[in-house]
């Protein structure tokens, strides 16, 4: 974990209500896929956790959806403005389990963390398939970015207005070695039911701190209580106990 005052370099819409934010800070540690950063917005008490979308030396990029006052306020901010940020939070995905043909599943605001993961897996020479799920055509983002990594990319829209019609689970390929997934809980549950290999899922919860101090984000897992912000947000599929 690092606390840094980062400078906004870019904050631009990718799709309706979805923005890409690039932040610069000299000396920023490497951010790993599946980790998140925690942004303090002026006038808000709690920080806002957002997954790492990409990382280059001294620069972290995130993609966020405006869903409430904090993210709406963030969308108003301009390049040059500063943000007090905690970086390098959470465990991140374990890439060593990917196997040769990992499958990456992202739904809506769960798509972003898949990007840096895909990039790293490609760098390791894996054959990556990314399935990106959205509600409708106009919400689609990041497809081109995944294609530029030369992943195999499928887009599914719930209303069929773009790509394949249905949920990410409706377009699973025949063969894959491992699954990485991030998205809303109903999607993760469906993925859990549908996929045949082992995998890692990224979870979300309202957070008090984001770095393990408050026990605000705890879940029960097969191995006992775990903090999403510290032992997570990535959990082995088999560890997750879904609440009824």
């Amino acid at each position: 974990m690092q606390q840094m005052i980062l400078t906004i370099e870019e904050n631009k819409p990718l799709a309706p209500n979805v923005y890409r934010l690039r932040l610069f800070g000299k000396g920023m540690e490497e951010q790993r896929p599946g980790q998140f950063i925690n942004l303090l917005l002026p006038g808000r008490f709690l920080r806002r956790p957002i997954s790492v979308y990409d990382w280059e030396e001294d620069r972290v990029t995130v993609v966020y959806k405006t869903v409430g006052h904090g993210t709406e306020q963030l969308a108003q901010m301009k390049p040059g403005e500063k943000l007090d940020t905690l970086t390098g939070l959470g465990n991140g995905y374990d890439l060593s389990k990917a196997g040769e043909r990992p499958l990456l599943l992202g739904g809506g605001a769960g798509v972003p963390p898949m990007y840096l993961l895909a990039r790293r897996l490609k760098e390791q020479g894996r054959e990556v398939t990314a399935i990106l799920g959205f509600n409708t055509r106009e919400e689609v983002f990041a497809e081109e970015a995944f294609r530029a990594l030369s992943c195999r990319v499928h887009v599914a829209t719930a209303d069929g207005s773009y790509g394949e019609k249905g949920f990410v689970t409706d377009v699973l390929p025949e063969e894959y070695s491992y699954v990485y997934a991030c998205g809303p809980e109903p999607m993760l549950r469906a993925v859990h039911r549908s996929v045949k290999t082992s995998g890692q899922f990224s979870l979300e919860e309202r957070m008090g701190c984001g770095f393990g101090a408050c026990m605000g984000c705890s879940i029960q897992t097969a191995s006992g209580p775990r903090r999403i912000c510290r032992e997570g947000p990535v959990f082995e599929k088999e560890e997750i106990l879904w609440a009824d």
Partner: protein, 302 residues
């Protein structure tokens, strides 16, 4: 004695700044980020007889200038605290720690305190009486002077270490609870715990917290906390540890002026993991600004 030093129930503190229970874990994790020996001491996560997972999530909501938590005393239980947490802490913290204890019956409190009393690392027992009394209809121990006194007496009987009773602000007259604890033998008082509050999710039209209600903390509660510290420190003659919304070195000074001999910092640690370190660094400058020579000069300076 340095400019910042103070005394809490006979134990000297290098400075009056103490991370509050529930916002600093068992301390050793923070030691990865800074040398926590700069603290006066810290109060570890509320510990109970048995391990507890706590409440279902969501456990956290935001509110203006503060937050609400309904963690529900998640902790590994006193056995593992003694076997795992304290030994891990010993590697990084060389001062006495404040042991925060919770319970759901008088016996719970006494059992857990007795166990922790034997630990050399523990300097003080801070007994959180905001929890519901499961054997007595669920009313919190901290809202009834007689119950508060009963817990105090039970704990005092099994411990030799100074006992600080931690008071709930959700009462009509906090001085009545404070006096009851003092008469029952408490060595000091800690206040305030969180104010009961809630938020509703407008989209879902239902409470944000799975537990419906939770405890408000952060700057929003500062004026209420300050008032209670002021009232209680005038109503008793044992030392008072003040807390509730403290975020800056100036807030620390205000709490001391209200009558506290030391100050805990809670929610501020969650939004800024370095909050306590920064407050301690800022204290001498804030004192210069208000022409305060030493922390001890503020004690009783009202």
């Amino acid at each position: 004695m340095g400019r910042l030093s103070t005394t809490l129930c006979g134990i000297e503190l290098d400075n009056p700044v103490i991370p509050a229970s529930g916002t600093f874990g068992y301390g050793w994790e923070f030691a990865r980020w800074y040398d926590i020996n700069c603290l006066g001491t810290f109060s570890f996560k509320g510990t109970t007889r048995e391990p507890r997972f706590g409440n279902p999530t969501p456990r956290i909501a935001e509110c203006p200038a503060g937050m609400i938590n309904a963690v529900g005393l998640q902790n590994p239980g006193v056995d593992r605290v003694i076997e795992e947490e304290l030994p891990a802490l010993r590697q990084v913290f060389h001062k006495k720690v404040m042991a925060n204890v919770s319970g759901f019956s008088v016996e719970d409190y006494a059992y857990t305190c007795e166990r922790l009393d034997k630990e050399e690392q523990v300097g003080w027992l801070e007994v959180n009486i905001s929890c519901p009394n499961v054997h007595g209809g669920g009313m919190s121990f901290g809202t009834d002077p007689a119950l508060a006194a009963e817990v105090t007496r039970a704990v005092k009987q099994v411990t030799k270490k100074p006992v600080l009773m931690k008071l709930s602000p959700n009462v009509t007259d906090i001085t009545a609870i404070a006096r009851a604890c003092e008469e029952a033998g408490a060595d000091g008082l800690s206040l305030i715990n969180t104010l009961q509050g809630m938020r509703i999710d407008l989209k879902k039209r239902k409470p944000i917290l799975a537990n419906v209600m939770g405890g408000v903390s952060g700057p929003a509660v500062f004026p209420v906390a300050l008032r209670m510290v002021y009232q209680v420190s005038r109503a008793v003659s044992i030392p008072v540890v003040g807390m509730g919304g403290v975020t800056t070195a100036e807030d620390v000074l205000e709490m001391l002026m209200a009558g506290a001999c030391a100050v805990e910092v809670g929610a501020a640690n969650l939004t800024d993991p370095f909050a306590c370190k920064k407050i301690i660094q800022d204290l001498p400058f804030a004192m210069d600004r208000y022409h305060i020579e030493s922390v001890s000069e503020l004690k009783g300076g009202h």
